[in-house]
Structure formats: structure tokens, C-alpha cells
């Protein structure tokens, strides 16, 4: 087969539907990555326009440009859009587009999940945009502190848009994070052991794990606040045993890691692009990996530093002040490793490099002011002033936007296969760099003079007029720079100026393919023996296109296929057949959207319909996978034959479930933390009446939990030995149902959920347990159907361990919920 024939054949298998219809049915990571990036950039522009409105408002004293009602919506939406609808999706888009190419494989682990996440993001983002155009956008500040955002002080629908819309968008972040984690761990080219992964993959892996553990506290906070607003369950009302500080803890438990979730991918871009710009390799790969792991964990120990003024005892503050200064050390390691890389090589001032220098200047200042506000007494003065606003913009613009622009110009030839014609980028850089520093240096200054953040206007006597005007002018210069970038990219896309294949002479795998990238990425997969595959073999691209690597001969029945590797060693593990184009993801995202919409508009009769719709579609989703007959091991070339993914113990679905459950467990852990926090810290505890415990119910529940995990284990053993599994599965279902019934009784008997935070929290704990009981029963029932229809055999066993994971999780959750509800009653 010639290169061209192979290309045609693979394109026929892998390509999306032509035209715009293809957008709705594509599950290909290249398409979806581009769609993510374009959408995120669109939201960046929207957020930028809002920023210009803010600067226009603050340019003069006693401004009558906007009243506070509108202004409060504008700055809330500016922060919300930039954080949730620009920064995180931008990372997701970049990772989705790049990772399979960097890792030498053909697609991500769960192509349909990528599409589902994208559509959740689009629909959730649209909800927020609609609220803005209707003038009913959230207006409580992007961190939404109750009681201000509670039903009493914010009775309108504005806050609900935030809580529900953002939760909807978070689904996409969680989906992408599961996707990225499993893909980096399993979906790599053969031979790519952990030490041979491109450094960006490490950054993406760590970031994804941080999303999985950082976002659930915010989702929990949003759920609780929405429950309080909609149904009067008092989690944050001091007079009913709640505490507004609980929100701050949950929010910043998310909010601080979020900063690093945004920074790490950008640092990944620097670590990828900088060595190429310096014609060398990255200094201290292993050190950097250790530094980013350290950074990830340390960033979870900083959340209270946003709460230094809330009256937390000084020793408590000291812990977090210490952690906040310590987190600067791994950042320092990275900064100096990069500078060392530059000393090691020969830096060239090309356009991506300019943006990297912009990053250095800006981010180092942001880091230094960050250390300043980590020092408790200084923060007591600077907190909630424009100094903080300026600091966070130095960190986020320096630590994210400059690297993203560097990455944009670095990978632009890859996205389009073209080269730049007009040299507008250099002008744009100069404007952006100057404009940014003028805007935000001035803002530091006015903050030190006492200007609070979030004020809509000030008086001439305050003496801030000139500084604010300078700051606003800088802001508009910055905006013009961004506009030029947009123009340049648009021109780039429409001019037919073909570029070379690897214009930067990079050594990573994404350049070992034609550009723009074909739908299948690689006609055959490389064998990796170092971190610079293109350095080892400059002709790698041609040899792969000739089919000399793995999977060179397209597999069974012209299906999309790839292979996975052992996470540590990079040895080939199993063979994967992907699903093709489908509209199921967009459809399921729409039904998910219906669920959120029904909550937002309080059409509660629709909610159960939407939930059943999602459950039904999810069953269909999974049902289409698998085979009814055993498959022989699939030869993948080079004398290797691999089992199919359904004929292994730990297939992709198991890995995906494991990481989804990690996020889920963080959610549950945050809920337990909230319970303990309210019990020990909130005013108005202990509650007037405790839950009436019942030894019988508790014992029945605990027994049912134990029985269902034992039963699913028995089912796995029986399947392996070729015995009948049905009785065990029925027992597992029965166990889940009994556990659900006991928890249901708990919820019915909860004392006064709307009268005290105690009852409210128990109700939520019960609801969480009940949901998992229903889910466990559904999954075991689904597995029973699969067994009946012949989708399983002693060899085709991959679905059993997945159900086991969820049943085990249910058992643990059920037990903890029962203990949390019953035991305090027994003790008193």
C-alpha cells in the first residue's frame, strides 16, 4: 500500500461527517480540540469586552456610565467567564487537541465523552450568556459569598444562573479530566515509559488530577447554596445553624488549586516551547516532574490564605501562611530550570519566544506580589483592594495568557499547515505587553492608596483619578493588541500560504504527521525509545506514514483502532476499537441541559423526566460497546498480538471509573468535612433535636452493603470459572436496594431539614447515598442484561470489575452515611 492509499483508507475510517453537520456528530479529538479552543477564545473576547466596560466605568470619578446594578453584573461575569468559560476550557481544548499527537496515538480514551463534555460546556456557557443579555446575570462577585448570595439578599434568578450554569460547565471539566488522566496513563505509543513522556503530558496529567480533586468542593458548595435558595435548607444561615464560612472554605478549597490548574498547563507550554526556541533540551526533566507534583499538592494546602481576614486564629493563619510561602519554592525550581535551559541553549527571538519573555517578566512580578500577600499582616491591609486585583491579573495573564499566546503562535502552523504572511504578531505583542503593564502596575498603586476592589465609582477627592485614567488607557491598548492577534489568526486561516512540515525543528511527535493533522494522526504508531523521537529519527514521519510502525495494517472490519500501554513501562497492553461518529453525545448533553434548566426555571416536574432521559441514554451509550463472541488476540505488528479491551481485567472503562470515583469521593469527603465543620464551628449547635437512631435499620443497611460487595465479588469468580453469575448479581441488586430503602427511611425521618443545618446536611447525605444505591442497582441490573444477551464470557470480563468498583463505593458511602446519621443519637 502506498502512503497515499493508506491515507485515503484511514481517512475514510476516521473522518467526521462533512460540513457543519459533522460538528454535531464528530467524536474526533482533533475536531473537538479545535472546537474547544475556538469556543474558549470566543469567551475570552466576551470577557475582554466586559473588562473594557469596567475600565471605561472606572476611568473617571463619579462615573455615570453604568449604575451599580449593571456594574455588579459586569465584574461578576468578567471573572466568571475568564475563570470558568475561558481558562479551563482553553486548557481542555489544548490538551484534547495535542495529547494524542504528543503521545503517539490516534485518539483519546473516550471519544464520545470528549464530545459530551464539549456540548455541556457550550450549553452551560450559553445559559450564562443568555442571562447577561437579558440583564439578569449573576451579580454577587465571582466568588459568590453567601449570605449576600442567599435567597434573602439576592432574591432574583441571577445567582441561580451562576450556581446552575457553572455546575453544568463543571461537568465538562470533570469529563475532560477523566479523559485526560486515562489517556496519559494508558493511551501512549509503545515504549513510551513514564520517563519518556513529553513534559506537557506530565503537566496535563497533574492538572487533570487536580481538576478531579479541586472541582468537587465547588460543585458541592453550589449544590448546597442552590438547595438553600430553592428549598430553604439552611447551610449558610447563621441563625439556623449554618455558617457562611462553610462556603468560603468550600469555594477556596476549589479556588486556590484552580489558580494552579490554570498555571500548570501554561507552564507545560513553556516547558515544551522554550527548549525548541533555544535549540536544546529541557534542563532537569525529573526535577520538573517532582516540582509539579509538589506544586499540585501544596496548592491544596493554601485555601485559607484567601480568608486571612475572617478572624481565624493566628496559628491557623500561620499554617497557611507557611504553606503559601513554601509553594513558591517549586515554582522557583521551574523558573530557574527554564532560565538554565536558556543558558544551556541558544535562545532565538522568534514570536513564541517574545511571549515567553512576556511571561517571565509578568509572572515573576505576580509571584513576588503573591509572596507579599502570603504574609498575613500585609494581607490584612491589601485584602479586597485593587492591589489584589492587580496581583491576580499578573499571575493569570502572565501565567496563562502569555504562554497561551506563545503556544498559539507555536502550534498555529500545526493547526492550519500554513505559515504567517503578515507580521502583525510582533506589533500585537508590543501592544499587549505595554498595555498590560500600564494597566496593572497602576492598579497595584491605587490599591495601596486604598481603592477597594469591586467599587463602581469613586470621588475626585479620593485622589485616584489620574491613576485610574492611566490604567484604563493601558487597558484599551491591551485590547487593541488582542484585536490584532484575532485579525492575524483570521488572515492566517484564509491565506493559502503553505508552510513546512516542522517549521520549528521540534523533536516531539506532534510534528511527525502532515499538517493540518489527519483525522487518524498517525498511519502507524511509533516505537518510542527517548524523549526526542524526531531527534533520533528525522524521517520518522515518513516511516510512520508508510505503515512501518504498529497497527500499520488497518484492523478488523475497518474500525477505528489503537492500542494502550502499561502505565509505567510503556509495554503494549490491550487493543482498543473506538466508536464512530454519533450524535448521542450532543443529544445527551441537551437532555442534561434540560435537567439543569428545569431546576433553574423551577419546572420541577420535568426534572425526573430529564434524569430518566440521561439514565436511558447512558445505558444506550454503554450498550453499543462490546462483542457477543470471543475475539482472538489482535496482531498489531512487530510480532505483538494484544487482547481486546473487553478481554482484560482493567480496561479503559475501569480506569475511567476509578478516576471518576476519585472526584466523586472528593465530593463526598467535602460533604463530610462540611458536616464536621458546621458541627464544631458554626453558631447554634448542637441542634435542637438529633436524628432518632434505629439499631435495626442501621444493622440492616450495613449488612446489605456488605452483602452487595460480597455478591459482586462472587459474580466475578463465577464468571471466571464459567459458572452462572445471575444469582450473585441479583443478590448485589437486592443489597443495593435494601441499602437504598434504609437510607430513604433516614431521609424521611430527618428532623426539620429547613429548621436547622443539621437536618439539612443529613438530608443531603441521605440523598447522596440514595442516588448511589439507585446507581449501583442500575449498574448491576445493566450487567445482568449484558450477561443474558451474551456480551460476557470468562474471557470477555471487563465489565464486571467496573460494576464492582461502583458497588464497593456504594457500600463505603452507605456505611458512612448510616454511621453519620445514627451514631450521634446512640451516643447521647
Amino acid at each position: 500500500m502506498s502512503i497515499l492509499e493508506r491515507h485515503r483508507k484511514l481517512t475514510a475510517i476516521w473522518s467526521s461527517e462533512p460540513g457543519f453537520k459533522g460538528w454535531f456528530s464528530t467524536v474526533n479529538h482533533t475536531d473537538l480540540g479545535r472546537m474547544f479552543l475556538v469556543t474558549a477564545f470566543f469567551f475570552f473576547l466576551v470577557g475582554g469586552v466586559l473588562a473594557m466596560l469596567i475600565r471605561a466605568q472606572l476611568a473617571t470619578p463619579d462615573s455615570a456610565f453604568m449604575g451599580p446594578e449593571i456594574y455588579n453584573q459586569v465584574f461578576t461575569m468578567h471573572g466568571t467567564i475568564m475563570m470558568f468559560l475561558f481558562a479551563i476550557p482553553m486548557f481542555e481544548g489544548l490538551a484534547i487537541y495535542l495529547l494524542p499527537k504528543l503521545l503517539g496515538t490516534r485518539d483519546l480514551a473516550f471519544p464520545r465523552l470528549t464530545a459530551y463534555g464539549y456540548w455541556c460546556y457550550v450549553f452551560g456557557g450559553t445559559m450564562l450568556l443568555v442571562s447577561m443579555f437579558l440583564g439578569i446575570a449573576p451579580d454577587g462577585g465571582w466568588f459568590m459569598y453567601p449570605p449576600l448570595t442567599g435567597a434573602i439578599y439576592s432574591p432574583g434568578i441571577n445567582t441561580d444562573f451562576w450556581l446552575i450554569g457553572i455546575t453544568f460547565v463543571e461537568i465538562s471539566a470533570i469529563a475532560a479530566a477523566v479523559e485526560i488522566t486515562v489517556s496519559v496513563l494508558k493511551f501512549r505509543a509503545p515504549g513510551m515509559s513514564l520517563d519518556k513522556m513529553p513534559i506537557f503530558a506530565w503537566y496535563a496529567l497533574v492538572t487533570a488530577l487536580m481538576i478531579l480533586t479541586g472541582f468537587p468542593p465547588l460543585i458541592l458548595g453550589s449544590v448546597l447554596l442552590e438547595l438553600e435558595r430553592a428549598f430553604g435548607l439552611p447551610f449558610f444561615q447563621a441563625e439556623l445553624g449554618g455558617d457562611s464560612l462553610l462556603w468560603q472554605h468550600l469555594f477556596w478549597l476549589f479556588g486556590h488549586p484552580e489558580v494552579y490548574i490554570i498555571f500548570l498547563p501554561a507552564a507545560g507550554i513553556i516547558s515544551t516551547v522554550l527548549p525548541v526556541m533555544c535549540r536544546t533540551t529541557l534542563l532537569g526533566y525529573g526535577w520538573i516532574v517532582a516540582a509539579i507534583v509538589a506544586l499540585a499538592f501544596l496548592s491544596f494546602g493554601l485555601w485559607v490564605h484567601h480568608m486571612f481576614t475572617t478572624g481565624i486564629p493566628h496559628m491557623g493563619l500561620a499554617f497557611f501562611s507557611a504553606a503559601s510561602t513554601l509553594v513558591a519554592v517549586p515554582t522557583g525550581v521551574q523558573i530557574f530550570a527554564w532560565i538554565g535551559t536558556m543558558w544551556k541553549g541558544r535562545p532565538e527571538l522568534r514570536l513564541p519566544m517574545l511571549h515567553i519573555l512576556g511571561f517571565f517578566v509578568t509572572f515573576v512580578i505576580g509571584g513576588l506580589t503573591g509572596v507579599m500577600v502570603a504574609v498575613v499582616p500585609f494581607d490584612w491591609q491589601a485584602h479586597d483592594t485593587a492591589f489584589i486585583t492587580a496581583h491576580l491579573h499578573y499571575v493569570l495573564f502572565g501565567g496563562f495568557v502569555f504562554p497561551i499566546l506563545a503556544g498559539l503562535y507555536y502550534w498555529l502552523p500545526h493547526f492550519t499547515g500554513r505559515k504567517r504572511f503578515f507580521r502583525l504578531g510582533e506589533v500585537a505583542f508590543a501592544l499587549i505587553f505595554t498595555g498590560f503593564h500600564v494597566t496593572f502596575l497602576a492598579m497595584h498603586w491605587v490599591g495601596l492608596l486604598g481603592q477597594r476592589r469591586r467599587i463602581s465609582t469613586y470621588q475626585a477627592e479620593d485622589g485616584w483619578t489620574a491613576i485610574n485614567l492611566i490604567s484604563s488607557i493601558g487597558g484599551f491598548v491591551l485590547a487593541i493588541g488582542i484585536a490584532i492577534v484575532v485579525i492575524e489568526v483570521a488572515l492566517h486561516a484564509v491565506t493559502a500560504n503553505r508552510g513546512k512540515r516542522n517549521p520549528w525543528k521540534a523533536t516531539t511527535l506532534e510534528w511527525a504527521m502532515m499538517t493540518p493533522a489527519p483525522a487518524y494522526n498517525f498511519a502507524s504508531l511509533p516505537h518510542i525509545s527517548s524523549r526526542e523521537p524526531l531527534n533520533d529519527d528525522p524521517d520518522l514521519a515518513v516511516r510512520l506514514a508508510r505503515g512501518e510502525g504498529y497497527l500499520g495494517d488497518s484492523g478488523p472490519g475497518g474500525r477505528r483502532e489503537t492500542l494502550t500501554v502499561n502505565a509505567s513501562s510503556g509495554q503494549p497492553d490491550y487493543h482498543v476499537i473506538y466508536p464512530g461518529n454519533t450524535r448521542l453525545p450532543v443529544f445527551m448533553a441537551a437532555v442534561t441541559g434540560l435537567f439543569f434548566l428545569s431546576l433553574l426555571l423551577k419546572f420541577y416536574w420535568i426534572t425526573p423526566l430529564a434524569v430518566s432521559g440521561v439514565a436511558f441514554l447512558a445505558c444506550r451509550w454503554v450498550w453499543t460497546l462490546g462483542h457477543r463472541g470471543d475475539l482472538p488476540d489482535q496482531p498489531v505488528g512487530h510480532g505483538v498480538a494484544l487482547p481486546n479491551s473487553i478481554a482484560v481485567d482493567h480496561g479503559s472503562g475501569w480506569w475511567g471509573s476509578l478516576f471518576l470515583l476519585t472526584a466523586n469521593a472528593t465530593f463526598f469527603g467535602s460533604l463530610l468535612f462540611g458536616f464536621a465543620f458546621l458541627w464544631t464551628v458554626a453558631p447554634g449547635w448542637p441542634p435542637p433535636a438529633l436524628f432518632e437512631p434505629s439499631l435495626l435499620e442501621m444493622a440492616a443497611g450495613l449488612a446489605a452493603a456488605a452483602a452487595s460487595t460480597a455478591a459482586i465479588r462472587r459474580a466475578i469468580r463465577a464468571n471466571r470459572n464459567g459458572q452462572t453469575v445471575m444469582p450473585s448479581l441479583v443478590l448485589a441488586i437486592a443489597g443495593a436496594l435494601v441499602l437504598g430503602a434504609v437510607i430513604g427511611s433516614l431521609m424521611l425521618r430527618t428532623p426539620g431539614p429547613s429548621a436547622h443545618a443539621y437536618g439539612a446536611t443529613l438530608l443531603v447525605l441521605g440523598g447522596y447515598g440514595l442516588f448511589h444505591a439507585a446507581l449501583g442497582a442500575l449498574m448491576a441490573g445493566f450487567l445482568a442484561m449484558r450477561v443474558r444477551r451474551g456480551f460476557t464470557s470468562p474471557v470477555r470480563r471487563a465489565e464486571f470489575p467496573i460494576v464492582r468498583l461502583w458497588i464497593d463505593y456504594l457500600a463505603v458511602v452507605g456505611m458512612l452515611v448510616l454511621l453519620a446519621a445514627h451514631v450521634p443519637g446512640f451516643l447521647t
Partner: protein
């Protein structure tokens, strides 16, 4: 930044120390960046690069600086805490949207709206709380800020060196009336403070 009390003053000193340190570090990083563009002869080996850049500059240097800074910050933080002091005066501040009510332990029946009277030259412990949403009590020239949180009482120590009038602000976003939500602190000399406590009027 024109500190007029011991707390604000030690924070201002802290700021100037940190600013100088930050400028020096920033300068160092920029010089190192700039020098990397120099033309150079044979490159040093990787192990040496790692020793110089990662271990010395990346690990040891920031760790040393940050430890010092942390210790300095904690010492100042300790000094600013409200401690037992027979001189200290206690007042209460309760915030609501958008007004402050101040009351005085020395004269329990006396309250003032949006104006806090304190004696100059004596430490004052302000017990801050809120009856609706979260606010923050901040007199920039006297001390840092502390939040007013419903259901909690937080104590901030302030002190004015000289009699005078100081602007105070609420520094936590509280919705529509946030822009103009401010108050005034009037520091009296000893005679004026006694007169204030005796006087029955506003």
C-alpha cells in the same frame, strides 16, 4: 499609605522591606534572562547546570528568602494580636447594609452611627460582627482589616497615635450600596474621650 498607628506602621515597614526585596529578586531574574542571550563558548555539562540552576537558584535561594520572610511576618502578626492590656478599650461594631453601629463597653447605653470614637494613644479592641451579609471593618491608616461575619464576633486591635479623624471603609462587597459604605473614626485626646463618654448626645 500614611500610617497613623502602630499596627499600620509595622505593616507599612513590612511592605517597604518586601518591596525592596522583590525589586532585587526581580532584577536578578531579569539579568539572568538577559545574559542568556549572550554568545557563549562551549556549554557546561548537564549535571553542573542542574547544580547551579535547579539546586542552588531554584531550591536553596527561594527557600532561604521565604523562611526569613515567613518568620518576619509571623513575628509581626503576633505583635498585632489583641493581648491583655489594662490600657485597652473595648468597643463593638455591628455592620448591616449599609451602616455601622458602634457601642462602647465603658458606657454601655451609648451608641453611635457610622462614627467610631476612640481615645488616641491607647489600644482599642473592636469586636466586629454583622447582622446581615459579610462586611469588613477597615481603617487603612490605623490597621489591617477584619471581616464582619454573621454569627461570629471577630476582634481587631487598632490604635491611633494622635487625635484626629480617620476614614474607615467596609471592604467586602455587599451589593448595591457598597460604593459609599464607609465610616469615620474620631480619635480624641484623654480629655476629649472623657467628655465623649460623659456626653449624652451624638
Amino acid at each position: 499609605m500614611a500610617p497613623a498607628g502602630p499596627a499600620a506602621r509595622s505593616i507599612a515597614t513590612l511592605w517597604w522591606v518586601m518591596l525592596i526585596g522583590a525589586v532585587l529578586i526581580f532584577g536578578l531574574v531579569m539579568i539572568l534572562l538577559g545574559l542568556s542571550f549572550r554568545r557563549r563558548g562551549a556549554a557546561a555539562d548537564e549535571a553542573r547546570h542542574i547544580r547551579v540552576w535547579i539546586i542552588s537558584l531554584g531550591l536553596a535561594f527561594p527557600a532561604a528568602v521565604l523562611l526569613l520572610l515567613l518568620a518576619y511576618g509571623l513575628v509581626i502578626g503576633e505583635q498585632l494580636l489583641p493581648r491583655n492590656n489594662p490600657e485597652a478599650v473595648s468597643v463593638q461594631a455591628e455592620a448591616r447594609r449599609w451602616a455601622w453601629t458602634f457601642s462602647y463597653d465603658a458606657r454601655p447605653e451609648r451608641t453611635t452611627q457610622n462614627v467610631l470614637h476612640i481615645p488616641a494613644g491607647r489600644p482599642v479592641d473592636v469586636a466586629v460582627t454583622s447582622e446581615d451579609v459579610i462586611h469588613s471593618f477597615w481603617v487603612p491608616r490605623l490597621a489591617g482589616k477584619i471581616d464582619a461575619i454573621p454569627g461570629h464576633v471577630n476582634i481587631l486591635r487598632i490604635e491611633a497615635d494622635q487625635p484626629g479623624t480617620y476614614a474607615g471603609r467596609s471592604a467586602e462587597f455587599s451589593g448595591g450600596g457598597y460604593d459609599g459604605f464607609s465610616f469615620t473614626v474620631i480619635a480624641h485626646d484623654a480629655a476629649g474621650w472623657d467628655a465623649f463618654l460623659m456626653d449624652g448626645t451624638e
